[in-house]
Symmetry: C2
Subunit: 493 residues, 2 copies
């Protein structure tokens, strides 16, 4: 008779294979599928999703989980069992009816939002969002009861296991102390250094060549992945075949270039997850926040550094055509420009946390029933004014209606962007200590020591450790926003 643990690994291998098909069909939907395929694809993916839920929440799985806890397991197996338990609990906890209703209501809200946002129709959107919030609160309540925590903590835990609102309040609270004044000082400083913007058109073919060259430089394994185009850039596929995307704008090439660096960070994490445990939960990426720390390590710590931009410049000039705006100092200034604006996805790394803190405070209060949907616009205006000094009165489109995340009830996701940025800064600080030559290495294109360090400290571990253990092992301490502050001050002051 095989052990309960062996039965579990077989079940999770099977789930992983079905997850593979779901990931590839999902990637295809975003990159290749003609519009007419949409409804059949939706039905096929939903059918597979129901099946995966059934397999995962089967009674036998619950029994095996209990039995396996008493079996002799090594460290990795025990970590795998912990992640299996987590996956089972998360899935088994919600009644099927709630899952289905949330999925329907979320899809309806998102679909309508695609029209309502350009129409600035807050009233129409609010009506749908109230339904989403109602169901998300119900979900959070069930999860909170099971976990013995607050509602919002229960949702946070889906994206960053172990993270709590208390810890966020303290971390983000510290950021709020120094971020607005730091931002003001940087903006003031940069106002004395005007930047010239290169004028297009920039051929899409050249931008593609630049993207591919960057991916190669960043050690992306083209034998196990590819780059395509989609409306919203993402990193998908499976560790054996990672699919990243970007979008091209003929008038401006820097967004696509930085987008490719960002997604390549996600991709290299996926491509270097532990192959010896492939198919098991312990082989998966640690969390949404750690995933984002890798993309932001690549994009912000590495990609926007003076040394990396200098390294890149000759290739940029060759592909985009030499011109005065690509003179080195100007090219670096272009990529390090700080300019508070209304839109999160366009934000520089200094003002980005303000966008996140604002959303975190609103969504936490919303889930905890401290505020209602109707309170959002006023809160948004107040917080934008306080954090970034911008007026958004009446501009819902570029205000509280700008993001897709709330439309399908992904509450708890936003904080991972800034957690990722802080982890990235903390990790790069440790890289600098481990590799004293790192700045000249980057300038010379010798990036392998950095990849080796990430492989050693992050990638190879998958989900073996908790985030806190992983970060402590890698950097000697738990999350500490000091490194992020130092990074911003060093780069921008």
């Amino acid at each position: 008779m095989s052990s309960a643990y062996a039965n579990l690994t077989r079940t999770f291998t099977r789930l992983s294979r079905f997850g593979h098909l779901s990931a590839i069909a999902g990637w295809d939907m975003m990159t290749m599928m003609p519009p007419g395929g949409s409804s059949a694809r939706g039905a096929a993916l939903a059918e597979l999703s129901v099946l995966r839920h059934e397999i995962l929440t089967d009674k036998a799985v619950a029994q095996w989980l209990d039995q396996a806890a008493n079996e002799t397991l090594n460290d990795v197996e025990r970590a795998n069992l912990r992640e299996m338990r987590r996956a089972y609990d998360q899935a088994a906890l919600l009644p099927a009816a709630l899952v289905e209703e949330k999925s329907l209501v979320g899809a309806r809200c998102e679909h309508a939002w695609r029209q309502q946002r350009p129409a600035n129709d807050w009233q129409g959107f609010a009506a749908n969002l109230k339904e989403v919030v109602k169901l998300s609160r119900a979900e959070a309540e069930l999860r909170a009861q099971a976990n013995g925590c607050s509602r919002y903590d229960a949702l946070l835990d889906l994206y960053e296991p172990g993270m709590t609102a208390a810890k966020l309040d303290s971390t983000f609270g510290e950021l709020k102390q120094w971020l607005p004044s730091l931002l003001a000082r940087i903006v003031e400083k940069q106002s004395r250094q005007p930047v010239a913007v290169p004028v297009g058109p920039f051929a899409v073919e050249s931008q593609q060549l630049l993207g591919n060259a960057l991916m190669k430089l960043l050690n992306f394994d083209f034998n196990a992945g590819r780059l395509d185009v989609s409306a919203h850039p993402f990193c998908g596929g499976v560790p054996e075949d990672v699919r990243i995307t970007t979008r091209y704008n003929a008038n401006e090439f820097i967004s696509a270039m930085m987008g490719v660096i960002h997604e390549t960070g996600h991709a290299c994490y996926e491509q270097n997850l532990p192959k010896q445990w492939a198919g098991q939960p312990v082989a998966l990426a640690r969390s949404t926040a750690i995933h984002e720390s890798q993309s932001l390590f690549f994009e912000k710590q590495l990609g926007r550094s003076t040394e990396f931009l200098s390294l890149l410049l000759p290739q940029v000039k060759t592909l985009m055509g030499d011109r005065p705006e690509l003179e080195e100092a100007n090219f670096i200034a272009l990529n390090q420009r700080v300019k508070p604006g209304l839109i999160r996805v366009d934000a520089d790394e200094v003002s980005y946390p303000a966008h996140i803190i604002l959303r975190y405070e609103i969504e936490r209060a919303l889930i905890e029933s401290e505020i209602e949907v109707d309170d959002i616009p006023t809160l948004w205006q107040e917080k934008m004014q306080a954090l970034l000094g911008l007026d958004t009165t009446g501009n819902y489109r570029d205000g509280c209606m700008q993001d897709i995340h709330w439309t399908d009830g992904s509450f708890g996701y936003f904080p991972t962007y800034t957690l990722g940025a802080m982890y990235a800064a903390q990790l790069f600080n440790s890289v600098k200590k481990a590799l004293p030559q790192v700045h000249s290495d980057i300038r010379e294109g010798n990036l392998q020591p950095i990849f080796d360090w990430l492989q050693q400290n992050i990638w190879q571990h998958g989900s073996r450790f908790t985030t806190r253990q992983l970060i402590e092992n890698a950097t000697g301490e738990d999350l500490n926003p000091r490194f992020f502050r130092q990074h911003l001050e060093n780069r921008y002051l």
Copy 2:
């Protein structure tokens, strides 16, 4: 309580959704996937294939099939039930161990063949092929016992339900009477009309534009499908999202052009299958032979006709550059050139049936244990000499090792190519009767009446009728090779 028939439709809808994911992941594997993704993809697809087999051969399905036979059903439902029964019987009949062994042995033989063919290594290939034949005979024996027919008939039935070796012997026997002499006459005639071959390079971008223009002309619905590149052209995907492929050769554009027309014929059949029964077996294409009749209708009856080639020529000149070889008479002669050769896939429509008859006679005798694998080379040489006057002694690579079909045991498939060609000629004959203006219509690009006729007579029926009923309804009689002969004589003499 829902009826047994309703339970069956739900089960087959579910199977169809999983089939959708399998089709898209399979297409991706051939067109997009980097090599490193291969083994994970193989495992994922195999897992889904096991699941589909389990769902289809569940005991409940057998019970519902029996019960539904006594329920009140309309004509379409009864046809659907017939196709469900067929799918169930085909799947349930084979022991899982045989299916698995055949799949393993076939994969091994095919894999080795990719090296053995270029090395002309008949001995190495024969050793593997013997294993494949052994298992195919075992499969055929089980199917024959269940169907009460001969072994080879049981395999034929997988690709063209209702077709028998007796009927093939009679039909192909008739072809053998007149084909060699007709071929000789045509070759002799064409030897007096030398053809000038256009010299490349032809930009792949121009060939792509030509392919897309052709697909548009042929009513391919780009809202429900796309054209990509693969090593071996195919038509895949699902009726809601049909994926066709081609391959480009910079030195020669006619193969890709005709390949696109061929696959578009397959695609238009798929895109126009009955949507009101989508997800049910009755909504699927009738058979492999009928599918090929649609691609050959497009490629041979329509695409290589003088009228269609004239219609096409201005666009070809624009995209490929005007040159003497694209003078109208030469362009038509190029596309209607008849030249017996060793390779089936390169064969013109006059010598193609010889390649098929040869393979049919050998594979039938092989499955019926009248010959053994070691007898194949000699038989191949004799039949190539008799049918096409070509010597293949010692040339296994371009002889009996040229096709992939036998490597994984797809015995019974080859005849559908020539059945398809004959059905296509018979259908076009009926089109000419129904649309007396059809030749001038084609020359003027007015193809809609032809598509309407195919829609009315073939596409909309899916698998509602048997092949024989379908062809009799469309043309007034069962398969009759006379129309194929008339077509060849009209075009080439």
